[in-house]
């Protein structure tokens, strides 16, 4: 039951295309917006920072949420808290340290160089698949040491599962998501079987070794593999595609990136602020919590609006404009989340994006649109499907 559907019109096509005017009104007039009898929405930066790490906030869903497709990976870092969460996270953390990531992104560089061979004589390339998906997907496969093939079907089925996370997901979306999970679980089970036949020294081997030592369960290994396998590409690919798309609209930023290597990290951070792949996420209350004078009962759902928070004018001056010279708090966007549940892949994502963009911009001085991008965005997640570009040396 929406209290006022006009304030947060999930599913509305204009809202999905550009939700920021609605976010701005919520920030100004309804910083704590009651979406329905169980769910509250937070859009201000200050509230996000105060409450996202509140000790009463949990990622573990209460019973009233009921069953849904994403319960399929509830035995991962995305469905656990406390000691179990720390135990699971530590098995993967050591594979994504800044030092190791420098090694992993050599694969992204190799694939980017390979992909640029597909640029035709007129400079045309479908950039989303070749330059956004492939470098990040193959890199993750090589970290895991699993089969790199069947990319298109992996991406198609990943898009199927994320559709079920929309606040307006229908039973049809959920059924589609179950199909996606079935496909991905099938792939992952086959990878584990292949590893048992022919072990290596990748992340999946380490997970299986931990299982054999009793540190992880069979279920945890399978679900963790699936989480890393499908999440390797979509979010880095969206960020990369958003930046390349942005370069077509503001070519001076490409020049800035190309000519100022020392500013690349800050530029990428600012692009990530503007273009979070995941627009929001939810947490649940383990006890009553008061926010803006309103007592939210235990079990309530809080939706944290990442994309709104990243453009809160109280923190980010001219929030819709690109400005990589923002300092201090203004550089602290929340696209990767904060606290214990912040994105485990943020270091490798930033490094992949910088690697791919650096190779492209060192070879090409200008990028033009070669056709309307094809996107698939709902109320929670953003994706490109196709990004036709023309690269000019």
């Amino acid at each position: 039951m929406n209290i006022n559907h006009d304030l947060l019109p999930w599913g509305n096509s204009d809202f999905r295309k550009n939700p920021y005017p609605w976010y701005a009104r919520l920030q100004k007039e309804h910083p704590l917006y009651r979406e329905n009898d169980k769910t509250w929405v937070i859009t201000r930066y200050s509230d996000y920072m105060e409450f996202v790490r509140h000790p009463a906030m949990t990622i573990v869903e209460p019973d009233w949420v009921g069953t849904h497709p994403w319960r399929a990976i509830e035995s991962t870092v995305q469905g656990t808290e406390g000691a179990d969460h720390t135990r699971l996270r530590r098995h993967s953390n050591k594979w994504f340290t800044p030092k190791l990531v420098k090694e992993w992104v050599k694969h992204a560089a190799e694939i980017t160089l390979e992909s640029l061979k597909h640029v035709d004589a007129q400079g045309h390339l479908e950039a989303h698949h070749h330059l956004c998906v492939m470098p990040s997907h193959v890199t993750m496969c090589r970290v895991l040491q699993v089969d790199e093939g069947d990319v298109d079907r992996v991406i198609q089925n990943t898009l199927k599962i994320v559709g079920a996370q929309s606040p307006t997901a229908t039973e049809a979306n959920k059924a589609t998501a179950r199909e996606g999970f079935d496909f991905l679980f099938g792939k992952c089970r086959a990878m584990i079987a292949a590893k048992r036949e022919q072990p290596g020294d990748g992340l999946l081997d380490a997970l299986l070794s931990a299982q054999d030592k009793g540190e992880l369960s069979e279920k945890e290994v399978l679900e963790t593999l699936l989480l890393f396998y499908f999440s390797g590409a979509p979010n880095p690919a969206f960020i990369l595609a958003s930046i390349l798309d942005h370069f077509t609209r503001e070519p001076e930023l490409l020049a800035l990136y190309r000519e100022n290597p020392e500013q690349r990290s800050a530029m990428i951070n600012e692009f990530i602020r503007l273009y979070p792949p995941e627009m929001s996420f939810v947490r649940f209350l383990t006890e009553d919590v008061e926010i803006h004078g309103q007592l939210l009962p235990r079990g309530s759902c809080l939706r944290f609006m990442t994309a709104a928070v990243n453009r809160d004018p109280a923190v980010f001056a001219q929030p819709h404009n690109f400005n990589h010279l923002r300092g201090g708090q203004e550089s602290q966007q929340v696209s990767f989340g904060v606290g214990a549940h912040s994105c485990a892949g943020q270091v490798i994502t930033r490094a992949e994006v910088e690697t791919v963009l650096s190779i492209i911009t060192e070879r090409y001085s200008r990028i033009e649109s070669a056709g309307e991008p094809l996107t698939l965005s709902d109320d929670r997640i953003r994706n490109y499907l196709e990004l036709p570009l023309r690269f000019i040396a």
Binding site: M49, T97, G327, G328, Q332, V347
Partner: protein, 144 residues
């Protein structure tokens, strides 16, 4: 020639970045230095003949990170670190209540055993917008 052992404890690898930066900076000054994960260094080997830099992040709500914890616990088995001198650098996030608690917990334990802290404690604030390497180099230039 002074020799430095840069012992780092980490959860996600950021302390390792600081450790490597310190090794590089000291090497350019002609000083010998090596970075060693804290959980791979035996506390019994702590010696007045060496110089140390202890680096640790803070995990969660003020806890010690995965590879600092076993080293810290092993310190309890020592009787004295008299004569040992060390620098210290902590990584934290000032939006947390127990900002950079872990490095202070470690320093207290080392000092209780008679080791001597040299210079100012270096710190990186994950909420500052300052990069790890930038924070490390500022502290290195002030400390060495």
């Amino acid at each position: 020639m002074s020799s430095y052992k840069i012992l780092f404890g980490t959860e996600s690898g950021n302390a390792e970045v600081i450790a490597d930066d310190i090794v590089d900076a000291l090497s350019t000054k002609g000083l010998q230095a090596v970075a060693i994960p804290m959980d791979e260094y035996a506390v019994d080997d702590l010696s007045p003949g060496e110089r140390y830099v202890f680096i640790t992040s803070t995990y969660g709500e003020g806890e010690l990170p995965e590879t600092t914890q076993p080293f810290f616990e092993a310190l309890n088995g020592l009787e004295s670190l008299a004569g040992v001198e060390f620098f210290a650098f902590g990584l934290g996030d000032s939006t947390y209540t127990n900002y950079n608690r872990a490095i202070h917990v470690l320093i207290d334990s080392l000092q209780d055993l008679g080791a001597k802290l040299i210079g100012t404690i270096g710190k990186h604030d994950g909420n500052s917008g300052v990069s790890l390497s930038s924070a490390a180099h500022t502290w290195i230039s002030q400390s060495f």
